[in-house]
């Protein structure tokens, strides 16, 4: 393509979709075998994919809200990048959920047309960040947990979940490194940054109980889903290492294992789903 013709070339061909590449695959799961593994209940697999997919979708939304608000341009790029990675994970997982369910629902039906009560994410991802210390605290806790989870998921009996796990490990390893790096800089920075980083950690800590509380859907999917309780020791070890380098205290509040959604989910969904729902029959 010649530079001088870049603009002219717009109408030179009729295959516009190729310019949105990396986004609209005819086969969204990229050729990974999609038949269900033996003995797996399709509804349980769909529910499990939604659990992992909704975690990524809702946290991505919270990170998208930071775009144009980051403290420095490098962080603008990093946060958008992490939000994109999580959105990508959500798209694959929602697609797999729709496929397992077998009712013809695709990623957009699941993202845009479900009601709040049908979302299956952990409460940790819903919370609104008050400042950058909250963003980093939540991202640290979430990515330490999710990296441990995806790492084990890459050995799942379900070939699609295994592939999503293997791809996600590379992404979330960076998310964890980014969050840990800022936790150390803020924790061991100025007195104000130390205070705010500790406040961020204290704010998210009550929500981590749910991350390790065994879930009935997981228990019905042995070899396919990951037992959350098994992630605890890796989580504790990594967090302890980061907190020490960051001169931060491990919060003392008792983690709650309560599930369910708060009032913030309604706001998130109103923002995320509003336009799609207001345009019935619309094609995008």
């Amino acid at each position: 393509m010649s530079f001088d013709d870049a603009y002219q070339a717009l109408t030179d061909h009729d295959d516009d979709a190729r310019w949105a590449y990396g986004t609209g695959f005819a086969d969204p799961l990229a050729g990974v075998p999609t038949e269900l593994p033996e003995g797996v209940d399709a509804a349980d697999l769909a529910a499990y994919c939604l659990m992992l997919g909704d975690d990524a979708l809702i946290l991505s939304h919270r990170l998208q809200q930071w775009v144009t608000r980051a403290p420095e341009l490098e962080d603008e790029m990093a946060i958008a990048n992490i939000a994109l990675d999580l959105l990508g994970q959500a798209r694959l997982l929602l697609t797999r959920a729709g496929e397992a369910e077998g009712a013809g629902r695709g990623e957009d039906d699941l993202a845009y047309l479900r009601e709040a009560a049908e979302f299956r994410h952990v409460r940790l991802v819903e919370r609104q960040d008050e400042h950058f210390g909250h963003l980093i605290a939540r991202l640290l806790v979430f990515s330490v947990w999710r990296l441990a989870l995806l790492d084990r998921l890459s050995a799942s009996r379900d070939p699609v979940l295994a592939a999503i796990g293997a791809k996600g490990v590379k992404e979330v390893a960076y998310h964890r490194e980014y969050a840990a790096g800022w936790a150390v800089r803020l924790g061991d920075g100025t007195p104000l940054s130390h205070e705010r980083m500790q406040a961020g950690l204290d704010a998210v800590w009550p929500l981590i109980g749910e991350l390790f509380e065994p879930h009935e859907v997981e228990q019905r999917l042995p070899g396919v889903a990951i037992d959350r309780a098994s992630l605890r020791s890796e989580f504790d070890a990594v967090i302890a290492q980061v907190l020490e380098a960051a001169t931060l205290d491990r919060p003392t509040s008792a983690p709650s294992s309560e599930r369910g959604h708060g009032p913030e989910l309604a706001e998130i969904l109103a923002e995320m789903q509003g336009l799609a729902r207001a345009t019935p029959g619309g094609v995008w």
Partner: protein, 307 residues
């Protein structure tokens, strides 16, 4: 290096590099040109960024998020190019939020519907490409090289925007109306992106002599109109200009008179969104100050204690 070497380098169409001798006026003009471009990328994240959380499909959300991230990357890249001339990113940002340096006036218009995302890609990024492609041959090396990469990404964004509009035009009547409405609102401001008419563009002659500008504002504007008309036809939208018609004698499209008083108003700070754009940038800068201070404090501590 001396003035003769500088002049000879320009005459031979070769590049001036950061450590070469250059006239003060050239340095100042380049810093201003690059900084304004960087500011435009960063402020330009806002109108479209506002639609990321509301994008109506996950595919469009991913496309838009990646695009806005690219703009942050362009800004970062350009501020770095300005720094090769002795400018400082923090100082340039202060000049932006204090209103002492400008950014493209196009970003002072609101994005009212999701069709605006597509039209910004098609027309605004398209006009930017028309302006920027010749700058890949700017006499200042770091800027010219930055523009090559930026133009490639801008072309990509433009095609994505056009593809969104094509898709929406195949949708419901309400979607087609949305596209036409967005075209009506963005067409004239896009033409203004090329700047004042040649007769009122005082710096053009010097900039062309220094080869940091390769075509006049009116030349580029005509080129943009000529390329856009067939694209509008392919899309099935009308451009809001009753005087727009092919002139066989000139072999160009004639178009109506631009409302220059509007451009002056928007450039001087009185556009629909000027105050909000700057306020948002200022808020991000102020709210991030404690984070940047923490990073600096931490880095200083690490230097004190040798590893």
């Amino acid at each position: 290096m001396s003035e003769q070497v500088f002049e000879a380098t320009i005459a031979k169409d070769q590049r001036i590099e950061p450590r070469d001798w250059m006239p003060d006026g050239y340095r100042k003009t380049m810093i201003r040109q690059i900084a304004q471009h960087a500011h435009s990328e960063i402020i330009g994240m806002q109108p479209e960024g506002a639609w990321i959380t509301r994008a109506p499909s996950l595919r469009r959300k991913a496309i838009l998020l990646a695009k806005v991230q690219d703009e942050a990357g362009h800004g970062l890249y350009l501020y770095s190019a300005a720094e090769t001339l002795g400018a400082d990113r923090g100082d340039l940002t202060r000049r932006l939020i204090e209103g002492r340096q400008k950014y493209s006036s196009i970003f002072n218009y609101p994005t009212l519907t999701f069709a605006d995302v597509g039209v910004i890609g098609w027309l605004v990024d398209g006009a930017a490409i028309c302006n920027q492609v010749p700058l890949c041959r700017s006499s200042f090396g770091p800027y010219a090289r930055a523009m090559i990469r930026i133009c490639k990404e801008e072309s990509f964004h433009q095609r994505q925007g056009y593809e969104l509009l094509m898709t929406m035009m195949r949708g419901t009547p309400a979607q087609r109306e949305m596209v036409q409405d967005a075209v009506n609102r963005w067409w004239w401001p896009s033409l203004m992106m090329f700047g004042p008419p040649d007769g009122e563009s005082p710096n053009t002659a010097q900039s062309m002599a220094w080869k940091i500008k390769r075509h006049t504002n009116d030349e580029l504007r005509q080129r943009f109109v000529d390329m856009s008309v067939p694209q509008a036809e392919a899309l099935g939208v009308t451009l809001p200009d009753a005087d727009l018609r092919w002139n066989a004698e000139r072999e160009h499209y004639d178009f109506g008179e631009i409302d220059w008083s509007e451009l002056k108003r928007v450039i001087s700070g009185d556009g629909p969104m000027n105050a909000e754009r700057i306020a948002n940038r200022r808020r991000a800068d102020e709210e991030g100050a404690w984070v940047r201070e923490a990073a600096a404090a931490h880095a200083a501590k690490k230097q004190e204690v040798p590893a």
